[in-house]
Amino acid sequence: MTDDATPSWQHLLDLVAQLDSGSYDSASVTYGDVSVQLSRSGPLSAPVPSSASTTPATTSPKPSGTIIASPMIGVFYRCPSPGAPPFVEIGASVEPDTTIGIVEVMKMMNPVSAGVNGTLTSFLVRDHEQVEYGQALAVVAEASSQ
């Protein structure tokens, strides 16, 4: 039975509770392809840069959905030109090649495509905001059949 072979989520919670009530500073449990590591002090995760690294993807709350990331450093624009309507409104349907905005690098305009089918649910950066490579720009709730 799978009940014996792999622990359920509840089993893991039980184990964590058990370890937590114990006096361990650190614990590591591996069971098949499940691995649990606990530590009361000190990092378990990779060291975080001490610098004021601006990777908003890690600091902003990330809504569920597919992230559209900036293809380069630059300035993000939602509209093709000042005063013009945005390329796409929140709540609109998008297809993979729908342009959702532009990243401008030294006067060169680089269109950003949605990449997936779905509904654009939110923008994670403001219009005219400076963005870096890989920064999360917008979120698309993918169409279910896709």
Partner: protein, 466 residues
């Protein structure tokens, strides 16, 4: 001098570091040295590198491949704007000698820690650099264009043998022929012309004197951009493999006063003629038979091997670059042609010298450096560092200084033996070999010494295994 981004505020000026690896760490140290705030322009692969953690801020400019990140002037300029940078330091390689970056920054009124764009263009290719050098009275290799391939013998005599036949419109070393005497020249010149015509659409040739046993000696210069030149001694970089420098030292050993003066004076004349701005290097070949000196090229940037000069003279060349770019006094002293100590730099690369210098990227599980007198280590390595496969293989530079060349060679050998780098294969074995070799200990090996000597060693080791 010129207006700078942050000149009106009390905040420290921002230095954008447009490079990676050990030189990024080095530039960050120089920025701290002058009280500036270093911001790193990094590829996604370097966003959490040791240099990134040393910087005040990291701006991710593109993905790991250099063609989409470190080699794109517009991305660096954009990062400089986002950082509010007063100055961009390009390091070496990448965009350091590309006029495009310097020009983009000029438009944005951000200083570039390097020569003016027109200087970069003037010395950017060998033929243009040769013209500039000739005009400044710098000794160059005898060379002459060939008008008529049938009467080439007289030209060959005027230059001397051995010589090289080169295509005027050739490049990348293609179509070059080595000629040892007049008979060979007469026979090979027509062939070369025909091939040049076929390959480059033009059969024009020139002859250039070839020096089979020459040392690579270079002079460190610093110009104020208005014609004043300072000379910071010379470096010998003759221990090379396929034109890659492996070991450098300051001063170049065993040069006569006259030979040294020729190089230093020529370099000074070149800096003055160009009104060169900032740090640069004038490279020469020194023929070991005749002690003839010929100009090779100008490296219009800080060089990998700059620390040997810094340690020999007690100066900070990178801080001086930044200060000059900010319109400050670079604070460099006038120094004698020969320093009072010898400094040797060992380049430690992630390559396997026993297997044709195959790259060996990977995770550095543990690294320990020697300490004590006269030792400096420029590196980005730390325990657990994942050495990325995208970039060059330089991991660290071990720089050792002592009161005499003998003491420096011994100290470098002992220091190299103490280095511990676990997780990847390094070139340390070659350094221990070279530093123990009588030819190197004597000093003054040529650029063609290392290759065959190392191969000979490898063959001997193969023999002994059998």
């Amino acid at each position: 001098m010129s207006e700078k981004g942050n000149a009106d505020s009390e905040a420290p000026p921002v230095v954008l570091v447009a490079n990676r690896g050990e030189i990024a760490v080095r530039i960050i140290a120089a920025a701290r040295r002058i009280g500036a705030s270093p911001v790193l322009a990094a590829s996604a692969a370097d966003a959490d590198s040791p240099a990134a953690r040393l910087a005040d801020r990291v701006i991710v400019i593109g993905p790991a491949p250099v063609a989409q990140s470190y080699l794109r002037p517009e991305l660096i300029a954009t990062a400089a704007l986002q950082a509010g940078a007063s100055v961009v330091h390009p390091g070496y390689g990448f965009l350091s000698e590309q006029p495009e970056l310097a020009e983009l920054l000029e438009i944005e009124k951000i200083a570039f820690a390097g020569p003016r764009p027109e200087t970069l263009r003037a010395v950017g290719d060998k033929s243009s650099a040769r013209k500039v050098a000739l005009a400044a009275g710098v000794p160059v290799a005898p060379a002459v264009e060939v008008d008529d391939v049938e009467t080439v013998a007289g030209l060959g005599d005027s230059i001397g043998y051995p010589l090289l036949i080169k295509a005027v419109f050739g490049g990348g070393g293609r179509g070059i022929r080595l000629v040892n005497d007049a008979g060979e020249l007469a026979r090979l010149a027509p062939q070369a012309a025909a091939e040049a015509l076929a390959a480059f659409g033009n059969g024009a040739l020139y002859l250039e004197r070839f020096y089979p046993a020459a040392r690579h000696v270079e002079v460190q210069v610093f110009g104020d951009g208005e014609g004043r030149a300072q000379i910071f001694g010379d470096r010998d970089c003759s221990v090379q493999r396929r034109h890659q420098k492996l070991i450098e030292e300051c001063p170049a050993p065993g040069l006569s006063v006259a030979t040294r003066a020729v190089m230093h004076d020529a370099s000074r004349a070149l800096v003055q003629a160009l009104a060169y701005r900032g740090a640069g290097t004038v490279e020469f070949l020194v023929d070991t038979q005749s002690e003839a000196v010929v100009f090779l090229e100008v490296n219009a940037r800080i060089q990998v091997e700059h620390p040997v000069t810094e340690e020999a003279y007690g100066i900070d060349l990178v801080a001086a670059q930044l200060r000059l770019a900010l319109g400050w006094d670079p604070e460099l002293p006038d120094v004698p042609p020969v320093p009072s100590a010898t400094v040797i730099e060992l380049r430690i690369n992630a390559e396997d010298p026993e297997n044709d210098f195959r790259p060996s990227p990977g995770t550095i599980s543990r690294v320990r450096w020697p300490g004590g007198p006269g030792i400096r280590v420029d590196t980005q390595l730390e325990d657990g560092y994942r050495f990325p496969p995208f970039y060059d293989s330089l991991m660290a530079k071990l720089i050792v200084r002592a009161h005499s060349r003998d003491a420096a060679v011994a100290a470098a050998r002992s220091a190299a033996a103490t280095v511990e780098i676990d997780g990847v294969t390094t070139t340390l074995a070659l350094h221990e070999f070279v530093l123990s070799h009588p030819d190197f200990i004597r000093g003054g090996v040529t650029t063609s010494w290392f290759g065959p000597t190392w191969e000979h060693r490898s063959e001997q080791r193969m023999e002994s295994v059998r």
